[in-house]
Amino acid sequence: MSKEIKHNLFFEHSPEVVWDYLTKPELIEQWLMKNSFQPKVGCQFQFFMSPMPDHKFDGNMHCTVVELIPLKKLTYTWKCGPGDGSINLDSVVTWTLHERDNGTELQLVHDGFKILEDYFMFTAMNAGWLMNMQKIPTLINNAKNDTGKS
């Protein structure tokens, strides 16, 4: 179980080329989604994807540019909800570029799943721990049976 999504890629292109694909709406659309992005801190924009009613997701990703350091770093919030103005998922997407001799290293981190913070405070929340948790009802039942006998 992880609380963040992280991917690293390498391109044999200059940071300028890679940066364009992260910040020009028509280029973003080619690989990511239709969008109303503008490269300005504070800019509120949307990504348009398919709704997923089962997950109470109306298909619009609501984002705000939080940080923008040309050719180096781009951060935006990543929020969505069922379409009634409420937000179910509140997270942050960060792109970092590092210039290398023969190209550019690009890192994507999607984290800050805000309403999950406390959830992930359950540091022991892994498969093993969940299994332990599921033993508890059995323990309680056993205790109950013991009480029943006495």
């Binding site: 991917h7 109470k56 309680i140």
Partner: protein, 106 residues
């Protein structure tokens, strides 16, 4: 109240419910002992418990006169599904970006 069918994210969007889940992550507790940790009416606590129960975050076991709350995997799995969804989402999008840039002449 139409809160019986909140999804997993709505369940944990409430600070009191998050705190209840944190308490329950340490041990199973009776509704009464759980309620002692909160400055709210017993019916209010019961309402939160019902919401968490309906969304699969806890189970309730009757032991004598007491009702024990225990964390349950299902609710948490739904949260993890979202993260897994976006992980797959990014992998497929990044592949597209890679293909585009690889095609592009340097």
């Amino acid at each position: 109240m139409t809160q019986a069918n909140l999804d997993a994210f709505q369940v944990i969007a409430d600070p009191s419910r998050r705190q209840m889940l944190v308490l329950l992550s340490k041990e199973s507790m009776t509704i009464n002992s759980l309620a002692e940790n909160f400055d709210m009416s017993r019916p209010a606590v019961s309402k939160h418990i019902k919401i968490m129960y309906t969304a699969g975050f806890i189970t309730i076991t009757d032991v004598g006169r007491e009702r024990y709350c225990t964390l349950k995997k299902d609710g948490f799995s739904e949260l993890q599904e979202w993260i897994d969804f976006f992980d797959k989402f990014w992998i497929s999008k990044l592949k597209k970006l890679e293909a585009l840039l690889n095609k592009k002449t340097k």
